[in-house]
C-alpha cells in the first residue's frame, strides 16, 4: 500500500517538556511526511535529544500533541507504543545489549509471535541481507554483541530499526561512528526507503550530510522550532541565522582587555600529538601563561576527553602532555602528577565528581590542602576556618556557617567553594569543564570576573563551555572540537555566535 504523497506520517504540535527548572522544549512542532527526509538542526541544548525521546516514546511531553499516523493523540506512552505505531528510532547512545548475541539484539523487543509471518529462519536471512547491505559483510549473528566494534554496533542498531520495516525512521546522530563507506551504503538505503514512502527524521552534526539528504530542515533554538526550511530555498547563512537567532542578541562583548600579548608570554603547558579517540586527528596545543582558552563544539566531540588528557588521563600510547617549569618539561601522566604540577581541574558533574555532599563547607574547601593546617599529627580546624574565610571573601561566597553542609549552598556558591579549594593551592593552570552549568546569572557574573582576575594574575585557564555566549565573552581564543579533534581555532577578534556555530557544524573556513 503506497500512501498518498505528502501524507503526514507523524505530527508533533507545540511540545513542551521541563526537567525540574530547566525547560528542554518550549513549543516544538514537527511534521514528517511520507517519503521525505526531514533533518532537525540546532545547537547544543536546543532540544534535539528531548524531541527524539518524545517522538520515540521514551519520554512523554508535559504539554502538546503527538500523533503517529492515525493513532489518536496521547496513546504513545512507552517506546513500545511508538514502535508498534511504526516509528523506529536509532538512538545516539543506546546501541546494543552487550551480553546477548547480535541476532538477539536485532530481535530486541520483537516478540517471537510478532515476527509475524516471518519464521526465525526467515528473520535471520533478512537480518543477514540488511547487515550485508549496510556493512558490506555480515558479522557472526550468534556471537556476543560485545565483540563488535563501535561502528559495527551502530550499524547493527540501524539494522535493528530497518528490520522493523517502520513507517517513520528516526536517526539521531546515527552516522557518527560510521566510516565513509558505511555511510554511503546507509544513504543508498535511506534514499530507497524515501522513495518507498518512509518518513525519515535525520539528525546529524555534519552539515554536508544534511545538505546531501534533507528535503526539509526544521531548526530548533532554545527548545522551540523556529523555522522549517525547504530544500533549495535557503542559504547556509539563513540556517545559521535561525540556529543562533543572532539578530535577537546584542553583539557579544568581550570582558577581556587586550592586556597581554599572547605571543610574547611564555608557555606553561604543552600537548603533543595526543589522539583522544582511536582514529581522530592528533591534537597539538600550547597553553600560555595568563590566557583563557575556550573549548567549544557540539556536545560529545572530544571536549571532555581533551580536558581529561590535559589532566593526565592517558588516551592510547601516542603523544603526551608536559608542563613547562623553568625551561624544563615535566610529563603529566596521571591526575596526581597534574596536581603536583599545579594543575587544578573542576569537573562537569559537580555533585558526583567535585563535591562531597555529606561533608561541610569547610571540609569541602579544605580537603585538598589540610596538610597546611596540621600541627604535628593534629589538624587545627581553626586554621582551615581562617583560610576559608579569607577565600570566601575574595570569591564572594555567601554562606551561613562554614560548618553547614555544602549542600545547603546554591549551585553557584558550591562551585565557588570548589574553585576556592583549588585556588588555595595556588595553581598555575586551571581546567574547568562547564563551570557555570546550572548556576544563576549573578553567580555566573562573579565567576566570570574571578576568572578574568585569575588570568590577569597569570593563571592559565582552559574552559570548556556549552554556552556560546560565555566563550565569546571570556575566551582569548577558542578551540572548536569536531569528531575528537581540533577542527578550528578562533582568535578573539573572530569570535562571535555566528562564527562559533558555523565552526561547530563544520562550516566556514576550516583549519
Amino acid at each position: 500500500m503506497t500512501p498518498p504523497a505528502h501524507a503526514v506520517r507523524l505530527k508533533a504540535r507545540s511540545l513542551r517538556k521541563s526537567f525540574g527548572a530547566s525547560k528542554a522544549l518550549q513549543g516544538c512542532s514537527l511534521d514528517v511526511r511520507a517519503g521525505e527526509i526531514h533533518a532537525v538542526c540546532g545547537e547544543n541544548g536546543s532540544g534535539k535529544s528531548t524531541l527524539v525521546k518524545i517522538l520515540s516514546g521514551v519520554q512523554r511531553p508535559d504539554v502538546g500533541e503527538y500523533v503517529i499516523g492515525d493513532h489518536p493523540d496521547g496513546t504513545i506512552e512507552r517506546p513500545r507504543d511508538a514502535l508498534r505505531a511504526g516509528v523506529a528510532t536509532v538512538f545516539q547512545e543506546l546501541l546494543m545489549v552487550d551480553t546477548v548475541s547480535v541476532l538477539d539484539n536485532l530481535q530486541l523487543g520483537i516478540q517471537p509471535v510478532a515476527l509475524g509471518d516471518s519464521s526465525p529462519a526467515e528473520f535471520r536471512r533478512r537480518a543477514q541481507s540488511v547487515l550485508e547491505e549496510l556493512l558490506g559483510y555480515c558479522p557472526d549473528l550468534d556471537g556476543a554483541a560485545e565483540g563488535l566494534s563501535l561502528s559495527e554496533k551502530q550499524t547493527c542498531s540501524i539494522a535493528r530499526s530497518l528490520l522493523r520495516q517502520p513507517d517513520v525512521l528516526i536517526l539521531d546522530e546515527a552516522t557518527s561512528a560510521l566510516d565513509a563507506e558505511s555511510r554511503d551504503r546507509l544513504f543508498v538505503v535511506l534514499n530507497r526507503l524515501r522513495s518507498r514512502g518512509v518518513g525519515i527524521v535525520f539528525i546529524s552534526h555534519r552539515m554536508d550530510e544534511v545538505d546531501e539528504l534533507a528535503d526539509r530542515i526544521t531548526v530548533l533554538r532554545s527548545g522551540a522550532s523556529v523555522a522549517t526550511l525547504e530544500r533549495g530555498k535557503f542559504t547556509r547563512e539563513d540556517l545559521i541565522h535561525h540556529m543562533t537567532g543572532a539578530d535577537q542578541l546584542t553583539a557579544g562583548t568581550s570582558e577581556r582587555q587586550n592586556q597581554l600579548d599572547p605571543v610574547s608570554t611564555h608557555a606553561v603547558m604543552r600537548m603533543r600529538g595526543v589522539r583522544i579517540r582511536e582514529n581522530s586527528y592528533p591534537v597539538d596545543f600550547t597553553l600560555r601563561q595568563g590566557e583563557i582558552v575556550g573549548v567549544g563544539g557540539l556536545d560529545g566531540h572530544g571536549q571532555d576527553e581533551f580536558l581529561l588528557a590535559l589532566w593526565g588521563h592517558q588516551f592510547g600510547s601516542a603523544g603526551g602532555v608536559v608542563v613547562l617549569e623553568d625551561e624544563l618539561e615535566r610529563p603529566i601522566t596521571s591526575a596526581s602528577a597534574a596536581v603536583a604540577s599545579g594543575i587544578g581541574y573542576v569537573p562537569r558533574e559537580r555533585r558526583s565528581q567535585a563535591l562531597f555532599p555529606a561533608l561541610t563547607i569547610r571540609e569541602n574547601f579544605g580537603v585538598r590542602t589540610l596538610e597546611r593546617d596540621t600541627v604535628g599529627p593534629f589538624l587545627m580546624w581553626s586554621r582551615t576556618h581562617l583560610r576559608f574565610e579569607h577565600n570566601a571573601k575574595k570569591l564572594n561566597i555567601k554562606f551561613g556557617q562554614d560548618t553547614d553542609l555544602i549542600t545547603t549552598l546554591s549551585g553557584g556558591n558550591q562551585q565557588k567553594v570548589i574553585l576556592a579549594r583549588w585556588l588555595a593551592s595556588h595553581p598555575r593552570v586551571l581546567i574547568l569543564n562547564d563551570p557555570t552549568r546550572g548556576i544563576d546569572i549573578n553567580a555566573k557574573r562573579d565567576l566570570y570576573a574571578l576568572l578574568v582576575e585569575l588570568a590577569d594574575s597569570g593563571v592559565a585557564i582552559v574552559m570548556n563551555s556549552t554556552e556560546i555566549d560565555e566563550l565569546v565573552e571570556l575566551a582569548d581564543r577558542v578551540l572548536v572540537f569536531r569528531e575528537g579533534a581540533v577542527a578550528r581555532e578562533l582568535q578573539r577578534e573572530e569570535l562571535s555566535r555566528t562564527t562559533l556555530v558555523e565552526s561547530f557544524f563544520g562550516m566556514g573556513r576550516s583549519r
Binding site: 512507552r78 517506546p79 543506546l94 545489549v97 552487550d98 546477548v100 530486541l108 523487543g109 556471537g143 556476543a144
Partner: protein, 319 residues
C-alpha cells in the same frame, strides 16, 4: 587464547559442569557404592532441595540492576513448613491440593519481591532481606518446634516412581518451564534487560514486567524446592530457614552466572549446586570434618569468581 575465552564466555556453565563431573567421578572412586543404581534416588532426593534453591536464585540475578533474591532459602523452608505442618497437619494430603498451594505460595512471595524491586524500587538486597526475615518469622509462628509428617506420594518423591527417581519430577519442572519461557522469548528479554535495561526499554521491551516476572519465577521455582525439602526431611523445621541462602547464591556464581546480570540460565546454577553437593558428599565419604566444608565452598567460590568476573573485565580492558 581469545577463541577459547570466547567459548568459555558463551558457555559459562561448562566449567561448572566439568567440575561437577570430575567430582562425581571422585565420589565414585572414593565410595564405589555412590554410583550404584540403588543409591542414586536417595542421593538425588538429598540434592533436589538445594539444586532447586540454586535454580530459583538465578532469574533475579540474570535480571540485572543488582538483582538478587536472598529470601529464596527461607521461602523454600516456609513452603516445607506449610506443606508438612499446615496442610498435612490438617489432613490435606492430596497432591492436587498440596502442590498447587505450595507453588502458589512461592509465586506470591516472588511477585511481592518483584514488585518491591521493580515498581517500588527497593534495592534488591534490601527488598529480599526484608523477605528473608519475614518468611523466617512466619515459619517460626507456624512451627515453633519441628514436627514431622509425610504421605505415600511424598515418600515416592524421595525415592522412586517405578524406575524413575522421584527427584526428577522436582528438578525437571523448573528446567522444562525455563525451556518453555525460552521458546516464548522471555529468556532473551530477561537477558537483554539484565544486560542493558535502558537499551532494552528504548527498543520496546517491558522492563518492569520482565523484572517482576524474574522474581516471580524464582518464587515459583522455590515452591518446587519446598516440596522437595518436605519429601526429603518429612518434617518442618523453622530452624533451617537460613541453610540454603548463601550456598544457593554461591551455586549461582560457581555455575558461571555473572552477578552483573544479562547472562546465564538455570543449567549453570544446577551445575554449580552439583559441585557444592558433591564436595559435601566427597568430604563426608572421606570422613573429613564438617568445618572443612565451608572452606571448600569458599575456595570454589574464589575460583568461580575468577572465571566469571575477572575474565570479562580483563577482556574489556584489552578491548
Amino acid at each position: 587464547m581469545k577463541g577459547s575465552l570466547q567459548t568459555w564466555r558463551s558457555r559459562p556453565e561448562a566449567l561448572a559442569l566439568l567440575l561437577a563431573l570430575g567430582l562425581l567421578a571422585l565420589n565414585v572412586v572414593v565410595r564405589p557404592s555412590f554410583g550404584s543404581a540403588g543409591s542414586i534416588p536417595a542421593s538425588l532426593a538429598a540434592f533436589a532441595p538445594f539444586a532447586i534453591a540454586a535454580m530459583a536464585s538465578a532469574p533475579s540475578v540474570i535480571s540485572g540492576g543488582g538483582g538478587i533474591d536472598i529470601s529464596i532459602g527461607p521461602l523454600v523452608n516456609l513452603v516445607t513448613i506449610v506443606v508438612v505442618v499446615t496442610l498435612f497437619g490438617h489432613g490435606v494430603t492430596h497432591p492436587l491440593a498440596v502442590i498447587p498451594i505450595a507453588l502458589a505460595l512461592g509465586l506470591l512471595v516472588g511477585v511481592v519481591n518483584g514488585l518491591l524491586v521493580s515498581v517500588v524500587r527497593y534495592q534488591p538486597v534490601i527488598a529480599t532481606l526484608c523477605g528473608y526475615f519475614i518468611l523466617t518469622g512466619v515459619g517460626l509462628q507456624i512451627a515453633p518446634s519441628p514436627s514431622s509428617a509425610t504421605t505415600s506420594w511424598m515418600n515416592h518423591l524421595a525415592d522412586t516412581f517405578g524406575p524413575v527417581p522421584g527427584a526428577v519430577f522436582l528438578i525437571g519442572p523448573p528446567l522444562v518451564l525455563w525451556w518453555l519461557l525460552g521458546r516464548a522469548g522471555y529468556v532473551k528479554r530477561l537477558r537483554a534487560v539484565g544486560g542493558d535495561d535502558a537499551t532494552a526499554y528504548a527498543n520496546g521491551v517491558g522492563v518492569t514486567a520482565v523484572r517482576v516476572t524474574a522474581y516471580a519465577l524464582g518464587g515459583l521455582v522455590a515452591g518446587f524446592g519446598g516440596i522437595a525439602s518436605a519429601a526429603l526431611l518429612q518434617s518442618g523445621d523453622a530452624g533451617l530457614a537460613g541453610q540454603y541462602t548463601l550456598p544457593a547464591i554461591a551455586a549461582v556464581v560457581i555455575g558461571g552466572t555473572s552477578l552483573l546480570g544479562g547472562r546465564g540460565g538455570l543449567a549453570g546454577p544446577l551445575a554449580g549446586a552439583a559441585c557444592i553437593f558433591l564436595v559435601q558428599t566427597l568430604l563426608s565419604s572421606l570422613y573429613v570434618s564438617d568445618s572443612w566444608l565451608q572452606v571448600a565452598y569458599g575456595s570454589m567460590l574464589i575460583g568461580a569468581v575468577i572465571f566469571s568476573g575477572r575474565v570479562p573485565q580483563l577482556r574489556r580492558s584489552n578491548a
